[in-house]
């Protein structure tokens, strides 16, 4: 797994995707930090965190699009699947490489919090909860994007389909508004990614949210492994 992780992580930088991803992430988080905290002179960073939800829906597909589609296109997949490693190692090696880059991106908002602490009292508990929520949300989204990448052979197709998939997850609440069947409403509410995330940015920390995001990440990684198993047996 270490070899796959290192190669994938390195490939982000050689293919310049890492720079684009980090730059865009930091530009938007910087802008929302400026607009949400500096302009209104507050140490409450929740506005910035709320806005980042939509930003990572756009950015995560860039991170995940090439994970498997590029391997298939360049025929390097064959080398990977005939090496003495398990499918789990392959999938998680790539997953953690994407997650590692995402974590690097999250370091900048942390610097913003440090800046704020120089000017006023920062509610560290809430900031850490927000970071945890944004991190786990990204972890879940990366797993979704990874599955889409495993199903496609073209980076652009993977990116667009991942974006649609993540957008659909975001829209669960909107869809919910148009449905007035009670049981469906309850289920959709429970599945809503945004509702849970929003609650945390408002200071309502809930362990079940953590469990939810982690479960999504695990399930989609598992599905990715299944995709490769199924392809081998077809």
């Amino acid at each position: 797994m270490g070899a796959i992780f290192r190669r994938e992580f390195g490939a982000y930088f050689t293919s310049s995707i890492a720079y684009i991803f980090l730059a865009v992430f930091w530009i938007f988080s910087g802008y929302f930090f400026f607009a949400g905290c500096l302009v209104s002179a507050t140490t409450d960073m929740s506005r910035m965190f709320q806005s980042m939800f939509l930003i990572i829906i756009f950015l995560i597909p860039i991170l995940t699009m090439r994970l498997f589609s590029e391997e298939k296109k360049q025929k390097t997949e064959q080398g990977l699947l005939t090496a003495p490693v398990s499918l789990g190692e392959i999938v998680f090696g790539k997953y953690f490489a994407a997650l590692a880059l995402y974590t690097i991106a999250l370091l900048m908002p942390f610097v913003y919090a440090l800046i704020l602490s120089g000017f006023g009292v920062v509610e560290w508990g809430m900031i850490f909860a927000n970071f945890l929520a944004l991190f786990l949300l990204g972890a879940a989204f990366i797993a979704v994007g990874e599955l889409v990448s495993a199903l496609t052979e073209n980076q652009i197709a993977a990116a667009v389909l991942s974006f649609i998939a993540l957008m659909t997850l975001y829209m669960i609440d909107v869809i919910n508004n148009y449905i007035s069947v009670k049981p469906i409403n309850t289920v959709l509410e429970k599945l809503s990614f945004y509702r849970k995330y929003y609650a945390i940015t408002c200071g309502l920390f809930n362990v079940s949210t953590i469990v939810f995001y982690v479960s999504v990440a695990v399930v989609f990684n598992y599905l990715t492994i299944r995709v490769f198993e199924r392809r081998r047996w077809s």
Binding site: G2, Q74, Q78, G79, L81, P84
Partner: protein
């Protein structure tokens, strides 16, 4: 050692590979021959665990590729048809990655240098793979297969894209590796298979069309009773005289090769040797016999005959052994 038993792969109704069985012993080089789409790569992909078989078994050093894939794969060095190269990496960093991926235990630097020397890629080790020529890429692909010194090597068309000098080098290398590795090599270049392999399997439409040692395969189809002779003299008379040879089946005058010189194709009943009689007839009439050669079939002819479905009968090694026993008795 590789054991393949009744290996079959179906894609829906299409039988890509149908009931293939063979064994490759340690230190043996097996050639896999067949036209495009015959099932060569499919078979190799099943052996290396890239795809599963519909039925049948493939054992690598006694380990079933489907039952314990990780262990079986650790015995195999595989060069697929298209080398699995990450083109954005340098040769060295790519090979280091493969070393880590295969969880190789050999001393890292020494082993990587050894492999790079063997495949002659050490002078490009710091270049990015995508800028290399096809021949170098192919050699990096081979280097990748050799990392970890696996006992079994499966090479899918290893000399594609190489220049003649490199082809010779790689062939020599494969022959050398064949001494202490089990090697399966596919190709549609027959001379290559003939030069390198101990045994040949010809597959066509997913089934084994012929399976024998290289020598037997070319010997069995070469026939002393078919002769092509070049004789100077009057054509019709020569044909008439040659037709009188006992056991002759047909004589055909070919085109005029030199002024007054024709080429004659003679076929006698199998087993009869007509070479001396041709000489005597020519000497008797004072027709200079300029050349004579047996119309031996090359491996190329065998291959074409087999794959075109003309189905020449090639006794396999066991039958021959039995026949020899019978002769002795």
């Amino acid at each position: 050692m590789i054991e393949v038993r009744n290996l079959t792969k179906h894609y829906g109704d299409k039988h890509a590979v149908n009931d293939i069985s063979f064994t490759v012993e340690d230190g043996e080089i097996l050639g896999f021959l067949g036209p495009n789409g015959a099932g060569k790569s499919t078979t190799m992909n099943m052996l290396t665990g890239y795809i599963s078989s519909t039925s049948g078994q493939a054992l690598i050093n006694g380990v079933d590729i489907l039952e314990d894939p990780i262990k079986a794969k650790s015995y195999i060095g595989y060069l697929p048809e298209i080398p699995p190269l990450y083109v954005d990496m340098t040769v060295k960093s790519y090979l280091q990655y493969v070393y880590d991926l295969k969880k190789c235990k050999l001393p890292r630097r020494a082993h990587l240098n050894e492999v790079m020397n063997l495949t002659k890629v050490n002078d490009v080790q710091d270049r990015i793979i995508k800028n290399l020529s096809k021949g170098y890429k192919q050699r990096v692909g081979l280097a990748q297969a050799l990392i970890g010194n696996p006992p079994v090597l499966i090479l899918d068309e290893p000399t594609v894209g190489l220049d003649p000098k490199q082809i010779l080098e790689i062939r020599t290398l494969i022959k050398k590796l064949g001494k202490n590795h089990t090697v399966i090599l596919s190709s549609h270049i027959l001379s290559e298979i003939q030069a390198v392999c101990d045994r040949i399997i010809i597959i066509n439409h997913g089934v084994v069309a012929a399976h024998d040692t290289t020598d037997n395969l070319s010997r069995n189809v070469s026939n002393d009773h078919r002769i092509i002779a070049r004789i100077e003299g009057p054509r019709d008379e020569i044909v008439k005289a040659l037709r009188n040879i006992s056991g002759i089946k047909y004589v055909k005058a070919d085109m005029e090769r030199e002024p007054g010189v024709y080429e004659y194709e003679l076929e006698a009943t199998p087993g009869s040797d007509i070479r001396r009689e041709i000489f005597h007839i020519a000497a008797e009439h004072d027709w200079p016999l300029l050349s004579a050669r047996s119309a031996e079939m090359t491996l190329e002819d065998v291959f074409l005959k087999i794959t075109m479905g003309e189905g020449i009968v090639i006794p396999n090694a066991e039958d021959q052994a039995e026949a020899k026993k019978g002769e002795k008795a």
